[in-house]
């Protein structure tokens, strides 16, 4: 048996803390506000940053919490579940640990403190697709992937143009960088790119699984209370099976992200494959759960008034970002094709 699969103490503690925080500070009204204002809720950001979440993976020497990826993965699910529109996941799971591991002394000193305290906001193009990043316009720091290298830029070194996204509250933008800006001084050390890609992928998977979990919960509640033909619609097998399929897709996807975080933190031979499994299955689950959710909600789910669409649209954005289902499945297919017995890249230890 490898991996704690989310069941150990630190992981549950972090997730519970964050869930309680969001229950208290980010109810439906605040979720809704982010969608109607179209701007980042800096007050909420400040409150979350005060919890130390963005520095969770940073070592205690630099002011972080010093926890491991597998301790953080359940908490990331809670962010997806909460519906909060905040630049938390890439910052905590990718940008901060990558700077600490691959940044020069100067980069670490100038970027880490502000990111860990939450005074500065980060965005990352790693694995998102194109030169796009969520919250790039709001960001003070950009982690940019270019020609298989990673560069760390401050606000004066990049510009942004808002681009269309199914989820406007995640503030998607395309970034532009003058090529003269990129230099040895902005580049992170070798190895950063693969490491960051893996992290971005498992973290996005956990986030997406949290989105699916919320949609499914709403759907189950609706099926229990909505009545037609004189009884709750959840008593009909046709409805039950839609929901059961969605539950299976989601519950079989969640531990894949947990394992991928563990494989990343332990540097296991199957870490890249595990990340691909996590994202392909999270994308699958989000689609199955989203489709079932809208179908079971019927007309009410099709209104702006009902909150389901906030999670559906976030799910749709994340489903195709950070490598689509097809992208990751082709990677897994190629890894299996090239797998030699005992290579450990796909199924280690056999």
């Amino acid at each position: 048996m490898t991996g704690s699969y989310g069941a150990d103490e630190t992981s549950v503690e972090l997730a519970t803390g964050l869930r309680e925080f969001f229950n208290e500070h980010c109810g439906l009204d605040r979720v809704r506000a982010a969608w109607s204002d179209g701007s980042l809720d800096l007050a909420l950001w400040g409150e979350v940053a005060a919890l130390g979440f963005t520095g969770a993976l940073a070592s205690e020497e630099v002011g972080g919490l010093g926890v491991q990826p597998e301790d953080l993965v359940l908490a990331i699910e809670e962010i997806g579940y909460s519906g909060a529109s905040l630049p938390l996941v890439d910052t905590a799971a990718v940008v901060v640990p990558i700077i600490e591991r691959y940044g020069s002394a100067e980069q670490r000193a100038s970027f880490l403190p502000g990111l860990i305290s939450g005074e500065r906001i980060a965005a990352s193009t790693v694995m998102f697709g194109g030169d796009r990043a969520m919250f790039a316009a709001e960001a003070d720091v950009l982690l940019l992937e270019r020609d298989d290298c990673l560069h760390l830029l401050d606000r004066r070194q990049f510009s942004t143009v808002e681009v269309h996204s199914p989820d406007p509250a995640s503030r998607l933008a395309r970034v532009s960088v003058e090529s003269s800006v990129l230099s040895d001084a902005t580049r992170l050390a070798a190895g950063a790119t693969d490491d960051a890609r893996g992290r971005a992928v498992w973290a996005a998977s956990a986030l997406l699984n949290g989105v699916s979990r919320r949609m499914l919960e709403m759907t189950v509640d609706h099926a229990k209370t909505r009545e037609q033909f004189g009884r709750a619609i959840g008593s009909f097998q046709a409805v039950k099976h839609l929901i059961a399929d969605a539950w299976v897709a989601m519950e079989s996807s969640r531990p894949c992200a947990w394992y991928a975080a563990h494989a990343c933190s332990q540097g296991l031979a199957d870490a890249a494959a595990a990340a691909s499994v996590a994202k392909a299955s999270a994308s699958d689950a989000a689609r199955v759960v989203g489709d079932s959710a809208l179908q079971v909600h019927g007309g009410i789910g099709f209104t702006w008034e009902h909150p389901l669409h906030f999670w559906m649209k976030r799910g749709k954005l994340l489903e195709h970002a950070y490598g689509s289902r097809g992208f990751h499945l082709r990677s897994l297919g190629a890894a299996m094709r090239d797998d030699q017995q005992g290579s450990d890249a796909v199924f280690p230890g056999l």
Partner: protein
């Protein structure tokens, strides 16, 4: 954290021990593909079960007092992974070890345990399960095989169907109707029946894959001691429900079983010239994802269940692997057809025939042990709390 590290070490040591023992003891001829149910093969498989018993590996999950090793779910899964990794044959007495034994421990009398448990452990008695009937499939509680009490004996008349291993089993764990007047769930008893009792006849069913692994079993005035009832007379439904949960539960198959199938699909993909084709790689990758999901689902379930008892979440397990397995074999059928168009190599054609038989068997898995539609009802009602349908 130190407790976690200790467990991890212990687990690694156990894996090494099992791997080493299996390598040293498993006869090579038992890993070859071929019929597993001919008289000769059965003889070898009984001998193998006896070897497992002598090594202390027959039923590691049974409590020590009954001859097991009292191991929990995590250790059991490691044993299963290693057992599948080396390609050992399916456990011959799976019903005895997984269903009858644990049920006797929970509901049996001391005398019953003494009479049967040790014989199961030594594989001196191979067991089959007599639940389904022609008119009691998904609606198992409507079963009609009648057991009329006369003195200290039942007189049993009726029919069971889809019984695996009935042609060679020594005993059957059966559900029979002991009270036709009671509501249907209340008039059923769990009875252990010696398959050599006069009046029992077994007829293998010729299946769509040409095999006869499932049988019909007919009972014509079969006399069985009432003392062979597990639990109270008419309380068999409760006894059986625990047993069904065991049947669907974790621990009977690991993801490792599917890795050789993935390797076969991978080499077929390459042999048919599709190794660089995006759609073919995506299909192969889908199966890699599914097998990985099964692996992590099982890992998660074990991590969350410290005592090895599983709830209705076990329904996910059977639903998931049966759908995964059917899809895997489906892809292989297409690839083997393509390959047989390119090749007249007899090895290719032999492989196609074996794959096809397994392909059809994989379709059965979506139906047996509670059809997948029933599993979805269980998930919806018992896991998610949706209201029961009026029936």
């Amino acid at each position: 954290m130190s407790a976690l590290t200790e467990t991890t070490l212990d687990v690694a040591t156990w894996r090494d021990e099992v791997r080493g023992w299996l390598k040293a003891h498993l006869p090579a001829d038992l890993t070859e593909p071929g019929a597993l149910t001919g008289p000769e093969a059965l003889h070898r498989r009984r001998a193998w079960e006896r070897e497992l018993y002598d090594g202390g590996y027959a039923a590691i999950h049974w409590p020590k007092e009954y001859g097991g090793r009292g191991m929990g779910a995590a250790h059991r899964m490691i044993f299963q992974e290693e057992y599948e990794r080396i390609g050992a044959p399916p456990r011959l007495n799976i019903q005895g070890l997984m269903l009858v034994g644990p049920t006797l421990m929970e509901h049996g009398t001391d005398a019953q345990r003494q009479r049967w448990l040790d014989a199961i452990l030594r594989c001196e008695q191979v067991w089959c399960q007599g639940f389904s009937e022609p008119d009691a499939g998904s609606d198992l509680a409507s079963l009609r095989t009648a057991a009329r009490i006369e003195g200290d004996r039942y007189i049993i008349n009726g029919q069971k169907i889809w019984t695996s291993g009935a042609t060679y089993a020594d005993w059957m764990f059966a559900l029979v109707r002991t009270n036709p007047e009671a509501p249907k769930h209340r008039g059923i008893s769990a009875v252990l029946i010696d398959m050599r009792t006069p009046g029992i006849s077994v007829r293998p069913i010729r299946q769509i894959n040409g095999r006869g692994t499932f049988s019909e079993v007919f009972f014509d005035n079969v006399e069985v001691p009432v003392a062979n009832t597990i639990g109270a007379v008419d309380d068999g439904w409760n006894v059986a429900m625990g047993a069904l949960l065991l049947e669907r539960g974790i621990g009977r198959r690991s993801y490792v079983k599917y890795v050789p199938l993935l390797r076969t699909l991978s080499s077929l993909t390459t042999s048919t010239g599709a190794g660089r084709d995006g759609a073919a790689l995506e299909e192969l990758g889908t199966h890699v994802m599914q097998v990985s999901k099964y692996r992590h689902h099982v890992g998660r379930t074990l991590a969350e269940s410290s005592n090895g008892a599983f709830g209705p979440e076990a329904s996910l397990n059977k639903l998931f692997w049966s759908e995964m397995e059917a899809a895997l074999y489906e892809s292989g059928m297409k690839l083997l057809n393509d390959l047989s168009a390119l090749s007249d190599d007899s090895a290719v054609l032999d492989g196609y025939g074996r794959w096809e038989a397994e392909y059809w068997h994989a379709r059965a898995t979506r139906i047996f042990a509670g059809s997948n539609q029933i599993q979805k009802n269980i998930i919806a009602e018992r896991v998610l709390g949706l209201p029961k349908e009026k029936r």
